[in-house]
Subunit: 160 residues, 2 copies
């Protein structure tokens, strides 16, 4: 037990992966909750439809995991699919990729400062937390879209 609060380990890679994949399961349920046409077209206040927000999550998740693991920052060239089924398939592919890459992240990389995609400087943990927070942030916007459509969104607290 560390005597000093400043250096106490409070989160492990495994806990963080489970935390993120729990959020990603909720986001997947959000994609499912949208009617097919509304997923690709509906928004409020001239914002992006939820499909485009989900694509942003996909463009960050696997590439960031790989970048923290390897130090190589390669953007993922993804085109928004035309159907919910295809979007969910991309989602599931990313889930598998993240689970596969995650255990290969060298422990020190979480605390090492790197420049993600040559642009955003920070510790690996900060870049990963940014991806998670960004997903929560935009997914929250999707909740408003669903409410505006009269659809009950999935429970925020359920990460199963």
């Amino acid at each position: 037990m560390a005597a000093n609060n400043r250096n106490t380990p409070i989160l492990t890679p495994e806990t963080l992966l489970n935390h993120w994949q729990g959020h990603r399961r909720l986001t997947r349920r959000m994609i499912e909750a949208f009617p097919e046409d509304k997923l690709f077209s509906f928004s409020v206040g001239s914002m992006r439809p939820f499909s485009e927000l989900a694509m942003e999550f996909l463009k960050m998740a696997e590439p960031i995991t790989r970048g923290v693991a390897t130090g190589e920052w390669v953007s993922k060239d993804l085109t928004t699919p035309g159907t919910k089924v295809e979007l969910l398939a991309l989602w599931d592919q990313a889930t598998t990729a993240i689970n596969t890459i995650w255990p290969t992240i060298p422990p020190h990389r979480f605390r090492e400062v790197d420049k993600a995609f040559g642009q955003w400087e920070g510790e690996g943990i900060a870049t990963i937390l940014y991806a998670i927070d960004n997903e929560i942030h935009h997914r929250g916007q999707g909740y408003v879209y669903l409410r505006a459509l009269g659809i009950e969104p999935p429970a925020f607290y359920d990460r199963s």
Copy 2:
């Protein structure tokens, strides 16, 4: 350096406090960004106005910090104030309280399972992350409110 990924420390109490207070600074800017009347009245899809979302954050933040620190889970009896200035004052009081209580959290409490407010069972870290995630989630909804009002929200990435 741990040889095993599973137990590698990747986040310290100090880093997590800075992360949370960075998010709380952004939420404070959101409160400021709302026109006085809209803060207490406007929403989309019959959801709560942003003032009520901010009150929810306040009801969680300091009591959860104290609960993780002490094991005593005491709800904060807060009434929604009538003005933005008063709401911001409550926000700033909570900021100070969190900063004061945080260093007193015994290190082991982050990983210890407790039942928050006698209801929600989980490690201290999970309860704190829930409070942060809940704030990000509902704040994202506030972004839609501002966009629907034609107001540019503060930048998500700016936590200064």
